[in-house]
């Protein structure tokens, strides 16, 4: 499932909702992205997340479908916030649940790596020197590129 919202989310409540009564789930992995308080040497006052409504939902759903095709997941969830966020606030949540931990770990990493390079969201940082749009990072591209070939995996060998 995917959600794009201005409101905060409760990580524990989301994990409980996803795994409740699902006893085939043996492991749940959650990634939470937060707003940092510094960019290089400069403190950040806030960050505004903008997105392309319609395409952002479509891309998140497609990225999630790709993860579900590559790994044996029992369930998954992506929540991405938009709007103005201050340091310490949560930006994004990715949860993956599987019978065994390896699939959950790998799929979670894949989801955040692909989200960062494919889903149409942009960050506007506010500092004491004014507001500027964050530039894309080469190491994010490299992280996403790791997943272009499906990893060799043997579901029977997990755990």
């Amino acid at each position: 499932m995917i959600r794009i919202q201005t409101d905060d989310f409760d990580v524990g409540a989301e994990i409980a909702r996803l795994s409740s009564g699902r006893h085939g789930i043996g492991g749940v992995v959650a990634f939470v992205g937060l707003v940092r308080d510094m960019v290089g040497e400069r403190p950040i006052e806030a960050m505004t997340l903008e997105h392309y409504p319609g395409m952002s939902e479509k891309m998140l759903a497609r990225i999630e479908a790709e993860a579900r095709a590559r790994w044996p997941l029992e369930d998954s969830l992506i929540i991405h916030r938009v709007g103005r966020l201050e340091p310490g606030e949560r930006i994004v949540l990715v949860i993956t649940a599987s019978a065994h931990r390896q699939a959950a770990f790998e799929a979670c990493q894949f989801l955040i790596d692909w989200l960062k390079t494919r889903a149409p969201f942009w960050k506007l940082e506010e500092t004491d020197a004014g507001a500027h749009w964050v530039a894309a990072r080469a190491d994010d591209d490299a992280a996403a590129a790791r997943w272009t070939v499906p990893p060799g995996r043997d579901p029977e060998a997990a755990e």
């Binding site: 392309y52 395409m55 930006i91 955040i112 960062k116 942009w122 506007l124």
Partner: protein, 83 residues
């Protein structure tokens, strides 16, 4: 044709969304960008480096040679930085 601009492309062009009727020679993403560049200094500056601009046609990523049609929704935006 509906055009959408996001992030610094919106800031630099001063436009978030507009309806345009490009001339018949605008048939691809590349020719659309050339036509847009000639519309004014903000557009010329925003589109000066085509490698810095991502294009989506009807909410799907597109390349310079891909066709654009009058009823398309075309979005222009920088490389994404979410997550």
């Amino acid at each position: 044709m509906k055009l959408l601009y996001f992030a610094w492309l919106k800031t630099m062009t001063g436009v978030a969304e507009e309806e345009v009727s490009p001339p018949p020679e605008v048939t691809t993403v590349a020719t659309l960008l050339d036509w847009l560049k000639a519309r004014g200094p903000g557009f010329a500056e925003a589109l000066a480096d085509p490698a810095a601009v991502r294009i989506a046609i009807n909410q799907e990523y597109a390349r310079p040679g891909d066709p654009v049609r009058p009823d398309d929704e075309v979005a222009l935006f920088p490389p994404v930085t979410g997550g």
